[in-house]
């Protein structure tokens, strides 16, 4: 059954039956906001919870915006009047969470090259729920993403976690500030010709230490250790959450020396909760340091392999990290470098180069939401969590699978069964 043939089938319900698709739509779907009840009945639920529970032939009940009940068919009461979507050969998985996305605003909003470190900037100003990027994300089952500025400078601003739903920026934002974007090397060199890692690291450290001192001064004042009220500074004030470890540094870092410096400077010496974004090339060789540090998450990619010229070998980056003992591991697309809807393909590629599908899927759901420190809300299918889930035709890491239904905050925001365009 070719893709083209599928595309030409209208209407979709007819198409689904006509093609012998196992995904049979039940009653009408639609907006179920407010206190409405939505019931999803599927063949398999990958909860991605801490126990890695898999529920075969399961049902979830969504009340309002959160998940109210999870169980096997028949064990869960379907409330009268609920909207029911029944796709009994399909998989229900948490909405995918992208840890590294640049689709806020337009491409001209990517960088501000005023300084080599720009602690005053924030992507909150670039949240754009109206862009086509949202549809792209939805088509790939990606429900949330961290919007961050580019890596043209060593520090480019604060990131924002958004959901790919909502008509205004306010509705879309899940967390702000959600990260400070840092690029330790491998792009900022182009900002000011001649700048090397020695100066970049010095300068970045100096900026972060200034922010840390600001936080320390306020903490002393607030705890009564000091009676001098520090001068309020809106720019440094955004960093207080960073030093309270309420949000992370998302670090553009790759190749051995740079990842090593990230671990040493940010995670160890400055005690910042650190996420290694990219972490490509031979960055995985720092695994011992990352393991010893103990509190770092790794969001690998989008380059999923590295050709080592001295060894004449191709290494799968994610596989190498995993084999080196790194467990809190995920992948990213760097959208739009790799289109946002291809997040699951990045997972597939990581598997092609030696990783395993379940770990890859966990890496773009639960682990990536942990990396963004929003795992209390999203990243797994658990009672009380946001109803951000997707119904897939099969394993999302299998490139043949389609994301048919996307639910965000309990609303069906996309139903691919009646759409002609595939991404």
């Amino acid at each position: 059954m070719s893709e083209i043939k599928r595309l030409t089938q209208i209407p979709v319900l007819v198409a689904a039956i006509g093609l012998g698709s196992a995904c049979v739509a039940g009653s009408a779907f639609g907006s179920s906001g407010g206190d409405d009840v939505l019931v999803l009945k599927v063949g398999k639920i990958l909860t991605m919870n801490a126990d890695d529970d898999v529920i075969n032939n399961g049902t979830i009940v969504v009340r309002g915006t959160t998940i109210a009940e999870i169980g096997k068919w028949g064990e869960v009461d379907v409330p009268a009047g609920a909207d029911v979507i029944e796709m009994t050969d399909c998989w229900l998985v948490p909405g995918l969470v992208e840890a590294h996305n640049h689709t806020g605003g337009s491409m001209s909003d990517l960088h501000d090259y005023v300084y080599l470190t720009n602690p005053g900037l924030r992507t909150l100003d670039t949240v754009a729920p109206q862009t086509p990027d949202v549809e792209w994300a939805q088509s790939g089952g990606v429900t949330s993403a961290l919007l961050i500025p580019g890596s043209g400078t060593n520090m480019s601003g604060f990131g924002t976690v958004v959901k790919f739903a909502g008509k205004s920026a306010d509705e879309a934002v899940l967390k702000f500030p959600a990260s400070i974007k840092i690029a330790q090397a491998g792009n900022p060199e182009g900002y000011w010709w001649g700048v090397g890692r020695m100066f970049m690291n010095y300068n970045l450290r100096a900026t972060l230490e200034q922010a840390r001192e600001y936080n320390a001064a306020w903490e002393q004042y607030e705890s009564g250790q000091s009676e001098t009220k520090p001068l309020f500074n809106p720019m440094w004030d955004d960093f207080r959450g960073l030093y309270r470890r309420e949000f992370v540094a998302s670090v553009h870092t790759q190749i051995y020396q740079v990842v090593m410096t990230t671990v040493d400077m940010l995670a160890d010496k400055l005690a910042i909760r650190t996420v290694l974004d990219h972490s490509t090339f031979d960055g995985w060789k720092t695994a011992r340091l990352v393991t010893e540090q103990g509190d770092i998450l790794t969001m690998n990619g989008p380059r999923q392999f590295h050709f080592d010229r001295t060894q004449r070998k191709i290494h799968g980056n994610a596989a190498r990290w995993w084999q080196s003992g790194i467990r809190r591991l995920g992948v990213n697309t760097d959208a739009p470098v790799i289109p946002q809807h291809e997040l699951s393909y990045q997972g597939a590629m990581a598997c092609w180069y030696g990783w395993t599908p379940y770990e890859a899927l966990r890496g773009i759901t639960r682990v990536s939401s942990e990396a963004l420190m929003v795992d209390d809300r999203i990243g797994s299918i658990e009672v009380g969590k946001d109803a951000d889930v997707c119904i897939w035709s099969g394993d999302p890491i299998d490139p043949r699978s389609t994301c048919w239904i996307m639910v965000i905050n309990g609303d069906v925001v996309r139903d691919a069964r009646d759409e002609l365009r595939r991404f």
């Binding site: 792009n187 001649g194 090397g196 380059r303």
Partner: protein, 562 residues
């Protein structure tokens, strides 16, 4: 293509030899006196030696190495039998060149917990009952050689800032550089990592050993020196260069005055007094109130330089740069901690250098050649002889941009002996002298009780170019074993294959009727090729930061990611 990728990918999964990085201190790696294997060091063989530069690069690129080790790190799979390295080791039966003190024909060195505790003739030294004995009979043991300055472990040799004394090479050392692995293979067990000469004032340097996953693990001594250049930085002329140097220190004086005045005023405020003296007096009174933490980054290291906390490594590319360098160091009070780094022509200022009496670091190319423009007469000076005759302490550095052989410190020293410098002086120039110049002369550079156990075991005399580095001990731990140098093994295999091919081709040519002519032309052809290869090798090495190790590819990492 796809099939190839797929099979590679699958093979990766199967590879079991996953090396635990934390184990790597226990294991060992290796080095090439690649040229040494193939040359007797004589001039006649020079071309052949040179040709190996190109092929060595090719070998590094072309050969598949053991998986999983960071480049520059050893690659021994963990064996079930390996435990922690022994705390006590005794090297017995070798000829010992302690550098400080007379040679010992058959001696024993005892190492305990990383330090040398005894050295002497085998029949006089008692080996502790719990020391592991390593028989090095027939071999020669010398102290680890020292590279007195290198920026090849850095991502860029210099930052673009003319005056940057607040920087530290710590932030840019890349332990995964092949350079460090090569150093180990060459018996260079301490490296002074310092910025290059394209600066006015550079950042702080560091003495490292060539093993370790991080600069912290590699560090022997931190903040050892600061680079400054009298020869103009790119884009500067001499007047601007020297003005910038003077300005930097004049600004430091001004800053100190302001700081002193401020400190004095602050002390008054605390006592609720009013300012009672003029600025000049306030500055005088405030001087002693300044504490170390009061200096800002920009000035702190300049103050420490004046105070003698670390050395000034002053580059004088030309003879005319020497006197201004001495004057600056004298005026600013750091002459006693100065090391003069000489460019090719700078030896002509030997009189001034002698008057200053400070140690000098010689250029990589030890010969200075100058042609008379009118007569065409070529004058050749062997620089170390000039410096030695003046009675100055000097250190040698490798010349990676020159011939292959010049990249080895022991070859550089051997060249000194060939030119009439005493053997002892030549040995000191690659061991104890650089250690002294870096301020670690009491820790490194000789085999004496109390010193760090950095030892090189060679197959023969270090000045015999057929000698190999067999074993290296760093902190008393076996850090290199030629028998387990996988990369070297592959390189040599490649060399052997090539030699066989060349011989086969030669034999085939001999079989032809125009026997004699064929031979001659083949020889000439070889030579031409050799020259080409050497030029290529030079440019590869000459850019200062091109290790071609696959990890320094920030250029590649550039454009794609946003």
């Amino acid at each position: 293509m796809l099939t190839t990728l797929m099979s590679l990918g699958r093979r990766l999964i199967e590879i079991r030899r996953f090396v635990v990085l934390s184990m790597f201190f226990r294991h060992v790696r290796v080095l090439p006196l690649l040229g040494a294997a193939l040359s007797d060091g004589s001039r006649g063989m020079r071309f052949r030696v040179r040709s190996t530069v190109g092929s060595m690069v090719a070998a590094v690129m072309a050969v598949g190495f053991v998986s999983f080790m960071p480049t520059g790190f050893a690659q021994q799979p963990e064996s079930a039998a390996s435990g922690p390295p022994p705390a006590k080791v005794a090297l017995t039966g070798g000829r010992i060149i302690p550098v400080v003190g007379p040679e010992i024909a058959t001696g024993t060195i005892v190492v305990e917990h990383g330090r040398i505790t005894a050295v002497g003739p085998t029949d006089e030294v008692k080996i502790p009952y719990d020391a592991m004995e390593v028989d090095v009979s027939g071999k020669v043991v010398m102290p680890g050689m020292i590279d007195p300055q290198s920026w090849r472990g850095l991502d860029v040799s210099n930052e673009n800032l003319p005056v940057a004394p607040f920087l530290d090479v710590y932030d840019a050392i890349d332990p995964s550089r092949l350079y460090f692995e090569d150093a180990l293979r060459d018996g260079v067990l301490a490296i002074h990592v310092i910025q290059a000469d394209n600066c006015v004032i550079g950042g702080l340097s560091r003495v490292v050993k060539p093993i370790g996953l991080t600069p912290d693990e590699m560090t022997i001594a931190a903040q050892n020196g600061i680079k400054m250049s009298i020869t103009p930085k790119r884009g500067f002329d001499r007047m601007r260069q020297l003005t910038t140097l003077r300005e930097t220190f004049a600004e430091l004086d001004w800053y100190l005055e302001q700081l002193a005045e401020q400190k004095y005023e602050e002390s008054l405020e605390e006592k609720e007094k009013k300012i009672d003296v003029g600025p000049a007096e306030a500055r005088e009174r405030g001087k002693d109130l300044i504490k170390d933490e009061d200096y800002d980054d920009k000035h702190a290291n300049l103050m420490r330089l004046r105070r003698g906390d670390f050395g000034a490594w002053i580059f004088c590319g030309a003879a005319m740069d020497v006197q201004p360098g001495i004057t600056l160091a004298t005026d600013e009070g750091f002459l006693d901690n100065a090391v003069f780094i000489l460019g090719a022509e700078a030896h002509k200022a030997v009189t001034q250098l002698k008057a200053a009496g400070r140690p000098v670091l010689l250029p990589g190319n030890l010969y200075y050649r100058e042609r008379d423009q009118l007569t065409g007469e070529l004058k050749e000076v062997f620089i170390p002889s000039e410096i030695h005759d003046a009675g100055l302490m000097f250190a040698l550095q490798p010349n990676p941009g020159g011939s292959l052989a010049e990249a080895y410190l022991n070859y550089q020293a051997a060249m000194c002996v060939r030119n009439g410098i005493p053997r002892q002086t030549a040995l000191e120039a690659i061991t104890i002298n650089p250690a002294t110049m870096m301020g670690v002369g009491d820790e490194l550079g000789s085999i004496e009780p109390g010193k760090i156990a950095n030892l090189v075991v060679m197959s023969g005399d270090p000045f015999d170019f057929e000698s190999w580095v067999e074993l290296c001990y760093i902190d008393g731990i076996l850090a290199y074993d030629r028998a387990r140098d996988y990369r070297l093994e592959k390189q040599l295999e490649l060399e052997a294959t090539r030699a066989e091919q060349a011989k086969a081709e030669e034999d085939a040519t001999k079989g032809k009727p125009d026997d004699d002519d064929g031979d001659d032309s083949a020889e000439e052809g070889d030579e031409a090729t050799s020259e080409g290869a050497s030029a290529e090798g030079s440019s590869e090495e000459g850019d200062g930061d091109g290790d071609g190790d696959g990890s320094g590819e920030s250029g590649d990492t550039g454009g794609g990611d946003q």
